[in-house]
């Protein structure tokens, strides 16, 4: 096991820079998830750690050693690819044993290591099959088995679950997390799915447009997003955003929305009329007698709770309520944010104000 550190890492394809100086520190045994929309540079970053892409500028350290010029096979890493990248002409056993064979390890040692990995992943009875004869989830396990057999310093996962169906994805998510708890190998996991990030990570790195937006624990990011992007990306259903201008009513600070309705906000050393974006999580909105007027669009009962989609001052707002509402589309209701559960962002820069 080893720590991984990225220092001012940049990547350019020709003149087009896709990663703009990224710093990430991953401690020994940590499970870190790089999450962001497609094209944010997260996969490129992972491939640079693996040694499959050259590093344009900056340094990558694995176990306190700079590996910029070290070829992939000498970095002591294992990677699980999105399409699994299993060798189709080799059986499951041969796939898992390939790295051992290349390293010239003995037959008995190879057999023992593969059997052990197969046991961990429940692949014992499939060892003589070809990848074609396996289901998606089984192939996924073989890809992980191939990584485990190498007993590497670092596991790298490149969107490993995105080719699986929804149910299997949830199951494999748990399996990967369990595996990490058991092996405690440093892991870097790339995904565009924030739920995967939230459920699996010790630490999440949110990326956007080649930059790190914020780094933190899953709940840390959820409770304290540093900017509009992180606030909108983490959490499902996503945080609601209402744009307006700062105002005051005596000692109280307010936000005036486009339709003239007002919502209270914490005190701020900013002048009236400053353009801001107010963020409220769906579960922090209460439907009742007070609050801003809203027009119901759709009501979705999920059993445990009810999701009410409505329009507030022209913006789409989602409310998640434990109560069972039976509103009709077009009905007028009022929604009120819970006190102290609102976020205020600068409308121009997107930075968190309060």
């Amino acid at each position: 096991m080893a720590s991984v550190e990225l220092r001012r890492v940049r990547k350019a394809f020709g003149r087009h820079e896709v990663v703009h100086g990224v710093d990430i520190a991953i401690s020994d045994g940590e499970f870190v998830v790089l999450v962001g929309p497609s094209g944010c540079g997260k996969s490129t970053l992972l491939r640079m750690i693996a040694g499959l892409e050259e590093i344009t500028a900056g340094e990558i350290l694995i176990g306190a050693k700079v590996v910029n010029q070290v070829p992939p096979k000498a970095r002591d890493i294992a990677m699980v690819f999105q399409n699994y990248a299993l060798y189709p002409h080799m059986t499951v056993f041969e796939n898992m044993a390939f790295s051992m064979k290349l390293a010239g390890r003995g037959k008995d040692e190879t057999r023992a290591r593969v059997d052990q990995a197969a046991k961990i992943l429940g692949l014992g009875e499939y060892l003589e099959r070809y990848p074609r004869q396996l289901s998606g989830g089984q192939r996924q396990r073989v890809a992980m088995g191939r990584a485990i057999v190498r007993d590497p310093q670092v596991f790298l996962f490149d969107e490993p679950l995105s080719n699986l169906d929804a149910k299997l994805r949830v199951q494999m998510r748990t399996e990967i997390k369990e595996l990490h708890q058991r092996l405690k190998t440093t892991s870097v996991y790339v995904t565009h799915d924030q739920i995967e990030a939230m459920t699996m990570a010790d630490k999440i790195v949110v990326m956007n447009g080649g930059n790190v937006e914020q780094t933190g624990t899953p709940l840390g990011l959820y409770d304290n997003p540093a900017n509009l992007f992180v606030a909108g990306f983490i959490g499902s259903p996503a945080m609601n955003f209402l744009t307006g201008k700062l105002a005051r009513n005596g000692a109280h600070r307010l936000v005036t929305l486009a339709d003239g309705s007002q919502l209270p906000v914490p005190g701020l050393p900013l002048g009236d009329g400053h353009a801001v974006t107010l963020g409220v999580r769906p579960e922090h909105l209460v439907i009742g007698e007070t609050g801003v007027p809203a027009e119901v669009v759709v009501v979705e009962p999920t059993g445990a709770d009810t999701q009410v989609y409505c329009k507030v001052s022209g913006a789409d707002v989602t409310v998640v309520s434990r109560e069972r509402h039976t509103f009709h589309p077009g009905e007028s209701i009022r929604v009120q944010p819970l006190a102290g559960k609102t976020y205020l962002f600068d409308a121009d820069s997107g930075k968190r104000l309060a």
């Binding site: 990677m79 060798y87 002409h89």
Partner: protein, 313 residues
Amino acid sequence: MHAPAAPLPSVERSPLSRLFDNRHFLGLLFMLPAAALLVLFLTYPLGLGVWLGFTDAKVGQPGEWIGLENYAFLVTDSVFRLSVWNTFLYTAIASVIKFALGLWLALLLNEHIPFKAFVRAIVLLPFIVPTVLSAIAFWWIYDAQFSIISWTLTRLGLINSYIDFLGEPNLARASVIAANIWRGVPFIAICLLAGLQTIPPSLYEAAAIDGATPWQKFWNVTLPMLTPIIAVVMTFSVLFTFTDFQLIWVLTRGGPINATHLMATLSFQRAIPGGSLGEGAAIATAMIPFLLSAILFSYFGLQRRRWQQGTKD
């Protein structure tokens, strides 16, 4: 499949209209034009050729059934036996070298090179040029007096007298094989290149992480992934080479002293200029078993591997 008939009030239909509603009848009917073309242009000439082989037909004379007499004669004919030997030698050497060069070229073209599309187009040129045209060019290159190879070598001071490429038996064999290779490599290279491009790059990345050297990647990933297409391409290459005619006919007409006669050229020479249609047809028919065994070898021996097959257990 017939949909279950709806319980409509029964309507009287003529037998003809019911016939035209029959899937099997319609299927046969629609196949007729294609079948007629195949019979006319494939089965008939092939059948005629095989039949002629059992007759003593000459040009301008219909000929009579003489059974295996032609074949019995050919077995004792040293020229025919030489041509069989030549054909095997020609096919074996040319195919092996074409495969090696073609694979090498495909691997090179698969790399990121400047002007990729242009270079690939150029590589295909020998395949596009009409065989007779390239054969004439080679004839000139191999000419006893005007050969550019001899000229270059004398200028370089490597030889004193011009080489008679097509005048000495073994030299002539090597020369026609070289010309065939020049013509055949592009086909193999382009087909294998297409095969190489279907190999997912992630396999090479996985192999790189697993610790494979470039040679190990080639041996453990490229070659096994390429075997299916190699099997198909080499079957075609062997068939084309085995039945080659144009190149030899233009360059040497089978000479010197029949050293470059292939079964195809000998068959033509005996049948048309020589007038012995029956004997020529017998030589051509004698190629069929060899060609058939080449196809069967590739069909059974190099068929789809187990790993390519579906999810059958």
